[in-house]
Symmetry: C2
């Protein structure tokens, strides 16, 4: 239905899964880093809550690829002021300097403590300093941290800022302000074959496979839109440059249509021979976002 | 309507217009080239027939930017075997080597004359060799060119290949096999202000402005879909990182809604603060392509 009134639906949990081999077509670390950065941007623009990286070539140990992809994705999701605490000078991160920032709400750019607002929520790094618990929230000095968090110290934590009547700032544990405010994505390194992962799924109530050979999205729009609207947590799967999801699952002895709810071609009648994974993620997520809306 | 039968609609002429300043946020030629390359890929994937580059900062001479953008876009649209004929070693092209190829049907990869098929259409470069007209179509040797083209020689031309009964190959002028086969995009350097260009338009029967401040696409979907289906030649306008289309036209003393038919936000509820032009082109074109389809 066409309507001029703005009907905003709250974003649901959206996860995407990408194959570890997608970076194999790129010959050097700069290019691989660039492509991983594009996936991070596509995910953030489209409010993806979780990125899964799965092995797709059973004959090969893909742990190095999975680690490279997950490390760079996590690095990009981390606010700049926390990166020095959480990431060492790892060789995987030699080329991240040129990547554009995500510019998400959980990456605040304000660096002055006096500009922090009461109740402001930030990602912080909790550590001990002179025997006291403090948290780095990206301003001049770490703030006193009011209660210990359950995890081991030092650790990353979401905190809220409090200003007491004397103007003193403290921080305490908080939960991210989702779903209204986009708070970045989690990264999961899926070590098991994709088919095993999907068979034991208890999390996703709608699993959509993107496939060049599947029905065009307009042909299944009504069914997909109806299911998407009802779903609480959607998982969208992407194949690689070389191998579609059908092939990947077939190699594992499974069928795409038994392990996924929908198979859809999001770029019908494409003008080029091949679309790269990062491009497919960009294109497809912007199409799937339309399913969040009412018409 | 949801239907399992494949209803393929032929793509209509789709033009996009991008502001010359979009590359200004990038500090070096490699980054600028990379972003222009992304727009070329987004255009090719989505069968864009024409890319317009327009001046958007009236206080500045943007000719160098417009030339850089148009030159790289044209270079990428040119089959590899024609680039040596048509592009010298221009400084603007110092960083094009790392860009991914478009992989469109008008960029054939077969380099052996014996593999050319009767009636095959290729882009060629017509020139005189030993007094005879020949055309380079990307195989070992140029082929005899049967009729002179009207343009000055040497020139680029679309040709069809003929194999005579004795196996001899010749080429003759042809028209591109559009619209079934995507044959790349033309590039237009718009020297006049965007408002002047739009006011004198006699080509586009539907002009759509992308704008973060406009109605969400789902809210105007029905009207836009209906107009898009009827249109013969659609023009989609993009603003820049810094300035929306409304601001650009306002500086020229005009209103966005009087010069365009629709204003639409293609990325409602975006998770990030700013979306770069190349990203916006990728996201928006994949959304607009859905309007080509029937539901």
């Amino acid at each position: 239905m066409s309507s001029r009134t703005s009907i905003r639906t709250l974003p649901k949990n959206l996860s995407i899964a990408i194959p570890a081999s997608f970076i194999d077509v790129y010959s050097n670390l700069s290019q691989k880093t660039d492509q991983i950065g594009r996936i991070a941007r596509a995910a953030a623009i489209n409010r993806v809550s979780e990125i899964l990286v799965f092995p797709d070539v059973s004959s090969k140990n893909q742990a190095p690829q999975r680690r490279l992809i997950t490390r760079i994705l996590e690095y990009l999701d981390t606010p700049q002021y926390l990166r020095k605490h959480l990431f060492g000078k790892h060789p995987d991160l030699r080329r991240v300097g040129l990547l554009p920032p995500l510019r998400t709400p959980h990456h605040p750019t304000e660096k002055r403590a006096r500009k922090l607002s009461e109740g402001e929520i930030r990602e912080g790094y909790v550590f001990r300093k002179d025997g006291k618990l403090v948290v780095d929230v990206g301003v001049e000095k770490p703030l006193p941290f009011l209660r210990p968090v359950s995890s081991r110290i030092p650790c990353r934590a979401t905190v809220s800022i409090t200003r007491n009547p004397y103007g003193m700032l403290t921080a305490q544990p908080a939960t991210p302000p989702t779903p209204e405010v986009y708070w970045g994505y989690k990264v999961l390194d899926i070590k098991q074959p994709l088919s095993d992962f999907l068979k034991t799924n208890r999390v996703y109530d709608l699993i959509v496979a993107t496939s060049r050979r599947a029905a065009q999205i307009n042909e299944i729009w009504k069914e997909l839109h109806s299911r998407w609207q009802k779903a609480k947590h959607v998982l969208v799967l992407f194949g690689s440059h070389n191998k579609g999801l059908g092939e990947i699952l077939q190699q594992e002895g499974h069928q795409l249509d038994t392990l996924t709810d929908f198979q859809v071609n999001t770029v019908p009648n494409q003008g080029v021979e091949t679309i790269r994974t990062a491009e497919a993620v960009f294109l497809s997520l912007s199409v799937f976002r339309l399913l969040e809306q009412r018409y």
